[in-house]
Amino acid sequence: MSEHSTYTPGTGIEKWLDERLPIIRFSKEHLMDFPTPKNLNYWWTFGAILVMCLGIQIVTGVILAMHYTPNVAMAFDSVEHIRRDVNGGRMIQSFHAVGASMFFAAVYIHIFRGMYFGSYKAPREILWILGVLIFVLMMATAFMGYVLPWGQMSGWAATVITNIFAAIPVIGTPLLELLRGGFSVGNPTLNRFFSLHYLLPFVIAAVVALHIWALHVPGNNNPVGVDVKDSRDTLPFHPYYTMKDAFGMVLFLIPFCWFAFFAPDILGHPDNYIQFNSQVTPAHIVPEWYFLPFYAILRAIDFNILFIDSKLGGVIFFGGSIVILFFLPWLDTAKTRSGNFRPMFKWFYWIFVVNFIALTYLGAAPAEGIYVILAKISTAYYFLHFLFILPILGRIETPRPLPTSISESVLSKKHA
C-alpha cells in the first residue's frame, strides 16, 4: 500500500539505500504507517501475541538444542541435565514447554476471533487458509517436540500418532516404517523428529510472513466488519497498535510466567518423567490438552462405516475435522462478516464454542460409558456446524443493519 507512504529519505545514506534496497521504506509502510481500522478490540492483539510466542519458542528452542542429545540412550537424561545442571536451564526449559501450551491457547483465541468476526470472508480467504496451514504446522511441530524428552508419554504419543498413518489402505505399513525408520518407534524416529522439530518453526515463520502479506493486501478486518472507506476510519499502526499490542503481550505474559515459574509441570503428565519403555504402555495415555478436541474425534469413530473399518474411519474424521477449516470461507455463505450483526449466527457460534470445549473434555475422559456416546454427539455436531448450519444460516438469516462506516459505528457508540 505504497500510496500511504510518507517516507522521504532524510540523509544521503538513506537515499542511497532507498534506491538499492528500500527496506526502510518497506518497514515504515508496513510496520509503522500501515492504515489500521481504529475500532480494533483486544481480541485483535493476539496476532502480535502469536508472533511473540513463535519468537519465544525459537529462542528458547535454539538454546535447548545446545544442551539436548537426540539419542534414545541419552535424550531423557539430557533433558534432566538441562533442568538441573545447565545455568538457568530450568527456566529456559519450562518457558519452552509452557510456551507450547501458551502458543496454542493464543492460536485458539485467534482462530475463534476470526470465526466470530467473519475474518475469513472475501477478500481474506487466502489469509485464512495460510492461517490454517500455520495451525497444522504448529501441531506437527508441537507433536515432534513432545517426543524429544523421550518419556513414556513421548514414546507412546509417537507410537500412536505414527500408527494413524498405518490406517491408510495398501501403503499404510510401508509408510509407517518409512516415517519411523524402523518397525517400531526407536532411535531413527527420535533423530528425525529432532531434525524436523528444529526445521518446522522456520517454515512457520515463513508462512507467517505470507500470512501478514496476505493481511496487508486487503488490510485488517474489524469488529463491525464493514470495509475501510476513508482515512477517518483508520489509524497508523505505530504508535496506536504497536502500543496496544505491547500491552496485550504484557497481559498475556502474566499467566505465561505464572505457569513457567510456579507450575511448569501442571500442563504435562507425570508419566513423562519415566523413560520410554516400548514394552509397557501407561494406563492412561492422553495427548497434550491442545490436541484433545481432535483426539476425541479420532476416538469417537469406533464402528465400521460400510467398507471403511473403525480405525480408518477415525483417521478420516480426525483429518477431516482440520481439513474442513480450509473450506470455511465457502461454507459460510453469509455476506455479513461480523457476528455482532448476525442474530442467529451468534447463538450457533457459541454453541460451537461450547461443543469444542466439550470435545476437549471428552478427549481426556476415559473411552467408556456415557463419554463414548457424548463424544459421538459432539463429533457429529462439529461437522454439522460447518456442513449444514453455516450454509443454511447464510440463506435464512436476516442480518441487523450495518453502520455505514467504521467512523460512524465508533461515534454512535460514544454517544449511546
Binding site: 507412546w156 500412536v160 518409512l178 519411523r180 526407536g186 516400548s278 514394552q279 504402555t281 480405525k311
Partner: protein, 174 residues
C-alpha cells in the same frame, strides 16, 4: 506462438515437452534417495531374526520379548485358556480365526504374538479384559485368550510374527 496458426503441434512443442519430461524424471530420481534414507536402515533390518528359549516360562505365565524393536508376547497357556478359545464360535469374531490358526500344531500351549494393539499400537495388559486375555488401556480394546479382537476399536487380531519351533523349547522368531 506464431506457428500455431499453421500446426496444432510443432517440433518445438515436442522438444519442450520431452525436455520437461526428462527434467521431471531426473528430479524424481534425485529426490528418491532423499526420501529412501528414511526407510529402516541396515542395522535395523539386521535384527530381523531371533531365537528364544521357552523352557523357563511356567504354565499360566507370559513374558514380553523384543523382536525388531517390537514387543512380543510369549504366553504359556493353561488348558482352560485353550479350551475357552476353542469353544468360541467363529461367528462371534470380528476378525475370524480359529485357535488352531493362531498357534502351531502340537504347540497349542504357546501363543506368540506381536504385542502392539492393532488399533494404534499400545501394548495391551495381560490377564485382563472381559475375555480372559488382554485389554488395551489406550482405547479399550479387548482380546481373548487366543489374542483375537473381541470388543473395542481395534480392527484386527493381535498380529502373529513369522516363527517356527526349532525344538520343543526353542523358537525362532523372524
Amino acid at each position: 506462438m506464431a506457428t500455431q496458426a499453421h500446426h496444432s503441434t510443432t517440433r518445438r512443442d515436442f522438444i519442450f515437452v520431452a525436455t520437461g519430461s526428462v527434467a521431471a524424471v531426473g528430479a524424481a530420481a534425485t529426490v528418491w534417495p532423499l526420501i529412501n534414507q528414511l526407510n529402516p536402515d541396515a542395522s535395523t533390518l539386521a535384527l530381523a531374526s531371533i531365537e528364544f528359549n521357552l523352557a523357563n516360562i511356567p504354565e499360566g505365565q507370559s513374558v514380553t520379548i523384543t523382536w525388531r524393536g517390537l514387543p512380543v508376547f510369549v504366553r504359556h497357556r493353561t488348558q482352560a485358556e485353550i479350551d475357552e478359545a476353542r469353544a468360541v464360535p467363529l461367528s462371534e469374531l470380528k476378525d475370524p480365526a480359529t485357535d488352531e490358526q493362531r498357534t502351531k500344531e502340537g504347540h497349542a500351549q504357546w501363543l506368540i504374538m506381536i504385542a502392539n494393539c492393532t488399533h494404534l499400537g499400545c501394548v495391551p495388559v495381560g490377564d485382563s479384559g472381559d475375555f480372559d486375555g488382554w485389554f488395551c488401556p489406550c482405547h479399550g480394546s479387548h482380546y481373548d485368550s487366543a489374542g483375537r479382537i473381541r470388543r473395542g476399536p481395534a480392527p484386527a487380531n493381535l498380529v502373529l510374527p513369522p516363527y517356527e519351533f526349532l525344538s520343543d523349547t526353542l523358537v525362532q522368531i523372524g
